[in-house]
Amino acid sequence: MLKLEKLNKSFNGHRVLDSISTTFPEHETTVILGPSGSGKSTLLRSLNLLERPESGLYRFDDELFDFAKGFSTKEVLKIRRKTEMVFQDYNLFPHLTVLKNITEGPIQVLHEKSDPAKKRAQELLKKVGLGDKAAVYPNQLSGGQAQRVAIARSLAMKPEYVLLDEPTSALDPELELEVLKVLRQLAQEKQSLIIVTHNMAFAREVAERVLFIENGHVLFDGSNQDFFNTKNKRIVDFISAMTFENI
């Protein structure tokens, strides 16, 4: 269970996250929605400690951390191993083959032996439909393939949560579908996912929980069904605008 309490974050005096409190249950898919600049990505990056809110509490299972007091290096590494990030721009390591991109973390960070790490990497590549791409370099992949490798790389670390920051927004619709299929499969397997996305159709299909943020505030935090049936005018307007955009 990952829980945030009263998270505050500002950039140059502008409040981006304003007293955000929410819970991300395990084995569920939570989709974070909201207009551009609402603080979605900052919230997601705060979960992986790539951003450090000025104040707020971060609870991971039984452990409680205080952003105001800061984190020790050991705590940062511990949290990052439990929460793997998938980036909008993939951020694959260009000098390493696809296989090495996936085994780098397990071997260098988790100190796994090379052979089992490679075997698991091959399994993960098959899972994301790229079993034949182990030996190629990232620049030989399409955007959709690169993002699937990035997902496999995050899964190789056996994280409790996979955090995806607009994983398909840099892709054209055909390539987007490849990635969404993989995410749908992970959601069905009950991998804990927290996804920032603009794709309403996908959010409606895979999300169990929806978090709607605007101007750094949580406007909605509840089930998928409640979100898409809400009478809240702002949310209804957002859904219709985004659904139109997706068409």
């Binding site: 951020n91 390591f93 973390g105 670390m157």
Partner: protein, 232 residues
Amino acid sequence: MWDIITNALPQLIAAGLKYTIPIAIISFLIGLVLALLTALVRISKKGGAFYVLKAIVRFYVWLFRSTPLLVQLFIVYFGLPYLKISGLAPEGIKLTPLVAGILTFSLNTGAYCSETMRAAILSIPKGQWEAAYSIGMTRALALRRIILPQAIRVSLPPLANSFISLVKDTSLAASITIVEMFEVSQQIAAQNYQPLVMYCLVAALYAVACSLLSWLQGYLEKVTSRYVSNAN
């Protein structure tokens, strides 16, 4: 003329193999280590006592980039014997010509290459650091496994330039009595009164050495860029 060349060539090559090439290689390797350490200090985000260290390395880079190499050689070889430090070096710091040469060339190369390395490290996109951090890497591990291998590719052409310059600059070692290739050519020219032939000959030998290094640079660029050139 061929007699002059065939007589002088073995002596010049011997001096090149004994002094010019070893001085260049050793100085460059020490300079690279210095450059990497200097670059790491300069890009470090640590505060406190690190500010003092940052100021020191900034001064070092400024000093060696702002003064002529020949002057630096003279200060180290001819000047340091007059620097008397009670307790440590009451008789002054007296270095052999070879040690003084290697020390000066290393410090000079380190100052120039540190800027190359700093720029190369800073040119790697922030997303690479973040991806490394995200899989649980420490800053040191991210630097070693993810950032430096990419930065080396970026810095290879300017570093190779620095090495080629260094090979030619070793001729200045003649001024502190090291009997390297240029010094030998001067000695032979003083005996056979053929300065034009001798200096052209030694220039040709430097050109051959630097051409080989240029070829090596091309090969290394090809090897380290294989993940870039494989694009569809």
